[in-house]
Point group: C2
Amino acid sequence: MTGTPSRAEAAGSCDGCPVREHAICAALDAAELLELNSLGRRRTLGAGESLIWEGDDPALVGTVIEGTLVMSTGTSDGREQIVGVVHPADFVGRPFGGATRHTVTALTPARVCVFSRRDFDGFAGRHPPLERKLLQHTLADLDRARSWILLLGRKNAEERVAIFLLDMSRRAASDGAVPGAGDRFELPFSRQQVADLLGLTIETVSRQFTKLKRAGLIDLPSRRAVVIRDRAALKLLAG
Amino acid sequence: MTGTPSRAEAAGSCDGCPVREHAICAALDAAELLELNSLGRRRTLGAGESLIWEGDDPALVGTVIEGTLVMSTGTSDGREQIVGVVHPADFVGRPFGGATRHTVTALTPARVCVFSRRDFDGFAGRHPPLERKLLQHTLADLDRARSWILLLGRKNAEERVAIFLLDMSRRAASDGAVPGAGDRFELPFSRQQVADLLGLTIETVSRQFTKLKRAGLIDLPSRRAVVIRDRAALKLLAG
DNA sequence: CGCTGCTTTGATTCGTATCAATAGCAGTGG
DNA sequence: CCACTGCTATTGATACGAATCAAAGCAGCG
């Protein structure tokens, strides 16, 4: 999807940044952007690499430029739960006090525009439009978190997997270059990670995948690839 | 806890408002507060009464002055899930576009300071400190939603109930007039509502309550009353 | 070609839901 | 004051879905 970064982008400027219009930065004009930019830096992450650890302090915040990341927590006895998925243009980290509660890990190679919380808080305080954009992003995150609560509280394994696949498909369609896409995509998640996201075990996820495949609703050409064959039926299962 | 409302408060002014310092209004000075106040009105709700319905539009937003409310959604086949609990000083409703996704219902008699979303959005846009406060509240809500995701995704019935009771106890202690309180409190929830909150059935909740009672960790003097007898043990169960 | 790690599949167990009945409490009217 | 009613909560028996335990299959990679 991304070609070679332009020289300006590589050098850490915001010109040609693919999320310029969608991230909170959209609230800033060129001069302000330059100022904010001088406070932060680009960070590249490999798949599996973590940006922030649970309980981290001094904390980092930032905007995802490229790649998919997850926020996760564990219970004391080792059970894991993914509590949020972070996509390009999403904001990550916890501004305004409070220790970071989650580990943030890249699932795919990723680029993030990061700031120390201190710097970011200060800058945001001087730029209300930025805070307004951040508020809007946060409200959207909260909506997503709440539908996830419904999924985890009241949906069974089949419904969870159906919802997950439709969700992934929608996202693939939205940022896919090809307009007709969305029916065929690569998951950024391993089976275990899908399980950690849906509050299930890897075995249950696997079984549900094969069940959907056998029923002809989806196809699984490779471990990470998914093809939606019968979206309507899938939506029905999603409840 | 509340005496007779002062004449000013009854008339709809903010003087002596019990959440003046904790709600988003804390960001405003006297003059601004007067202006905001002129846009809204007080609404009194009886227990069980709803303030906002799922898919509502024209939408309402506001600040809870007194009482406990819940935000809930249901699946098409009638399963219910509570996706958020709203306490005094909390903000409720969805500003900035997007249809309201949840029904908001009072569990106890409640007073809410309400605005039309349109009016509120406009006012907020002209008052950055208010938006900043709202952002902080929203970030806190998001944190709470995410710990709830962990609970629903990875905790068993016993852990869920233990966490719930400790949570309720903490809240009772924080707004209780008596400083030594927190070990004895009234639940604003029926058993069914506890079940809807914890993603369980009423029978499972009841069984866990009796189990904790028999184990001597809690006491249940009446349907809604709870006494914590062994907080340490309860914390252990909470995981 | 044979590791190594991920995924699928199978057998069984366990926790919670479901179904069904009883018990307790609050309100109502005799 | 007590029977009656309706509602909420508790308790019990059983069923079912997902977890757990265990093994085999499959891809990527030295």
